[in-house]
């Protein structure tokens, strides 16, 4: 954070906000698990609209709480779902790939710059390109 563009009062506010985020980050893994569970339920029920909404929620929140890769992946999943919604409908194989990856991230606690998660994302991207989906 570059402090020179903020007043002293604003810097104090920023520190306060950062403390709130740091506290929330500690339990965000649990929140993320719940979102993934809801996402699975909506996909099982072929409710693409709800699945898109949950992906958007994860995409919006996860990065802020330190789960950058989960945020990226859910944003990517959201775009795939939106495309599927407009075109062919839900592809369960693609959904399973994304769900397995998100599940893996939470269970293995893969946050931020984790090398394992980066490898996982790249493998997934390559698989999707092979399938001509992405």
């Amino acid at each position: 954070m570059s402090n020179d563009k903020f007043t002293v009062k604003q810097q104090e506010m920023l520190r306060k906000a950062q403390r709130i985020i740091d506290r929330a980050s500690l339990s965000y893994g649990d929140t993320l698990s719940q979102h993934i569970l809801s996402l699975k339920t909506s996909l099982d029920n072929d409710n693409i609209q709800e699945a898109i909404r949950i992906c958007h929620l994860i995409n919006s929140q996860a990065g802020t709480f330190g789960w950058h890769l989960a945020g990226e992946l859910s944003g990517w999943f959201k775009r795939v779902l939106m495309k599927q919604q407009q075109e062919s409908g839900l592809d369960s194989n693609v959904s399973r790939l994304f769900m397995d990856s998100l599940d893996h991230m939470v269970k293995q606690d893969l946050r931020a710059e984790s090398r394992a998660a980066v490898t996982l994302l790249r493998d997934l991207e390559a698989a999707l390109k092979d399938e001509d989906i992405h």
Binding site: K5, M13, L14, A17, Q18, T64, G71
Partner: protein, 162 residues
């Protein structure tokens, strides 16, 4: 977002996920700043932005609007700009980004353009001072040949010296 804004001592924060609810609240309350998400329920944040920018109430029309979005491609930015968004906040959001965008939108706003074809903050973020003539972009269209003793030559610094 609410927690961050409260940490910034924003006295009142109202949130809604429904477009129609947002429209209803806008007619009943006065707001200093509006954060819109690119993806609301049935209509997105840009639709709400367009609604506000075309509103007949001049005060409402000029409210600073900050768009929170994960779509930061060039076309998305152009769409947001043309809808009349004041600032764009890229996700994932962080407190310093929010503070910086609020600083610009609330305390250092661009002039507001209220024209028939566009209503919103001036879409030009910087006004270039061309300074030396050579800095200007060259036109592909040839200029018409200049007549001798044309009045325009008076613009030349040497003209008045004789």
């Amino acid at each position: 977002m609410r927690s961050i804004l409260e940490a910034f001592e924003v006295p009142q924060v109202q949130m809604t996920t429904e477009y129609n609810d947002a429209v209803r609240r806008l007619s009943n309350h006065k707001y200093d700043c509006i954060f819109v998400d690119n993806m609301m329920s049935e209509k997105n944040g840009l639709m709400l932005t367009k609604y506000i920018r075309r509103h007949q109430d001049k005060t409402l029309r000029k409210i600073p609007i900050i768009l929170c979005t994960a779509f930061t491609g060039l076309q998305s930015i152009i769409n947001a700009r043309d809808a009349g968004v004041t600032e764009i906040l890229a996700k994932p959001v962080s407190p310093d980004q929010i503070m910086a965008k609020m600083n610009v939108a609330l305390f250092n706003p661009r002039s507001f353009i209220d024209a028939e074809v566009y209503s919103g903050p001036d879409r030009r973020r910087r006004i270039r001072d061309f300074g030396e003539q050579d800095d200007r972009r060259k036109s592909d269209i040839p200029l018409p040949a200049q007549k001798e003793n044309d009045d325009d030559t008076a613009l030349d610094g040497q003209a008045g010296a004789e």
